[in-house]
Amino acid sequence: MSEWWTYRPSDFLMFAPRTYWRLFELHNQAWWPAPWLLLPAGLFGLGWLVRRPGPALRAGACALAVAWAVVGWCFVRERYAQVHWVMAWGAWAFVAQAVVLAGLASRPDLQATTAPAVRRGGLLLCGWALLLQPLLVLPFGRPWTQAEVFGLAPDPTVIATLGLLLWASDESTFTRALLNAAWLLALVWCAVSAATLWTMGSAQGWVPFMAGAAAAGLRWKARQAP
């Protein structure tokens, strides 16, 4: 691709905004009534995380592994990649993240952090992903049918993952490597999603951007603490 410097992000946006948001509408229709089942399941997991972080962390990683696999295959590959050929590779990144999270779930040394601020940040991100992300249709004037639901849509699934990853700390090198990989894949998606939404002219791009920035900032701060 010569004269690459002359290309703008909009040159790579090959679909209209209405086409993008219709993806979620069609996906929710196809998976109905899953959007209503995933919310209570997610809230249950959140409550369990607060009461019994150790086992809930591993169970949460396992559940998120399934969520990433489902979102990656059924949404990113089957729907998003139909209008954006780059997402054919994006789907494989979701599958890779599913493998990483499944690996984390199996690690006996995966523990919950004890830092209260980091825990609160994690809970806020998970709460946002479960409860508030779907409500973004309201300020942006979209129909309810286009709500982005955790476990079905990429952004809330990724943001909830960031929330869970904030709770996780490690003892071994291998677990740390898995955590780092999970962080990297989640943050890359936040950047991609933000860039896509901004290029579409949607201020909603600030959501994945701020979620990723906040999570990364909290993690960095936690690692600096003695």
Binding site: S2, E3, T6, D11, L13, M14, F15, A16, T19, R22, L23, L26, R79, Q82, V83, H84, W85
Partner: protein, 315 residues
């Protein structure tokens, strides 16, 4: 390495092409000022290499037809194509780069039982020339056509390898015209070199009320070499119209029979004598009809074109 048997040497005198170019220029000059086609259909321009008439407004499919598996959106696209043919349109342009636009076109054409007036314009977009034939065949399968009328090298990608292959396909009757494309003002120097040294039937470039660079060299060169010109981005992908909509339509617009800025913008483009066809993209039947309306009625002459461009630039 380009096979030099398949194209003319630079500036070599070719009587057939010269006569075709003169005829095309004469017809284009006359039709630029006439108001033909109101009763019988849209204004047409001849393809210089063959004389075949093409309506000056075609249909682009970048973004607008990339709707994935959305059955409702595909049905809407089919209605746009139906209205396109009903308005006398012929040329539909697409590319493998445009996501699911090709299957959407194929769906629409199947719904309409493959109108005979279709002029199919596609692109080969792969760096590996060995994969070009397979890509073209995949595109053909999506469209559901026996062959493409026009195959273009998309954005000059590997043109040195693709053009000879396309010329071979043309000689074998597997397509009718060969072309090359660029957009947004990129690589015009290289495109000019291709136009001077290669035997091509079409070139596709960006041109609109604000992006007029090609008037200096490429459009005159196209006329000189007898190359048809397809214009993409006549509305700058909607940005031009979005900016113009804030302003009242000037009086001269009504004189040209324009009912909106879209028709003004299109008439400006297609009234250039070197332009064969503009390909605005739309997903709405109402906009499609407006666009096709630009191919009818009075076209601005050179003086009015300059006035329009100056006034728009000043807005």
């Amino acid at each position: 390495m380009v096979d030099r048997r398949t194209f003319s040497k630079p500036d070599r005198f070719d009587r057939r092409r010269w006569l075709a170019a003169c005829a095309a220029a004469l017809v284009a000059t006359r039709s630029a000022q006439a108001a033909p086609g109101d009763a019988g259909g849209p204004l047409t321009r001849p393809i210089p290499s063959s004389g075949e008439a093409l309506p000056v407004v075609g249909l682009g499919t970048w973004i607008t037809f990339n709707v994935g598996n959305d059955a409702a959106a595909r049905a809407s696209s089919a209605e746009v194509v139906r209205a396109f043919f009903a308005s006398g349109g012929r040329l539909i342009d697409s590319s493998p780069m445009y996501g699911s636009s090709q299957p959407t076109i194929g769906h629409a054409l199947a719904q309409l039982k493959h109108p005979a007036s279709l002029f199919s314009a596609e692109k080969v977009w792969v760096g590996d020339v060995a994969s070009g034939a397979a890509q073209i065949e995949a595109s053909r399968a999506f469209w559901g056509v026996p062959r493409f009328d026009l195959m273009q090298v998309h954005n000059l990608l590997a043109w040195q390898e693709h053009l000879p292959r396309l010329q071979e396909m043309k000689a074998a009757g597997r397509l009718r015209y060969v072309g090359i494309t660029t957009s947004e003002g990129r690589r015009h120097a290289e495109l000019e070199r291709v136009m001077r040294t290669q035997r091509i039937d079409f070139v596709q470039v960006s041109y609109n009320l604000l992006d007029r660079e090609i008037e200096q060299r490429l459009l005159p060169l196209a006329q000189e070499r007898g190359i048809a010109v397809i214009v993409n981005r006549p509305f700058r992908e909607g940005a031009l119209l979005a900016a113009l909509q804030r302003h009242r339509l000037p009086g001269w617009a009504a004189e040209m029979g324009c009912d909106g800025w879209a028709q003004v913008a299109l008439k400006f483009v297609v009234s250039h004598p070197a332009v064969t066809c503009a390909i605005p993209a739309t997903s709405q039947v109402a906009h499609l009809r407006q666009n096709m309306g630009a191919a009818r009625g009075r076209m601005p002459d050179a003086g009015l074109r300059e006035r329009i461009a100056a006034e728009v630039a000043a807005l």
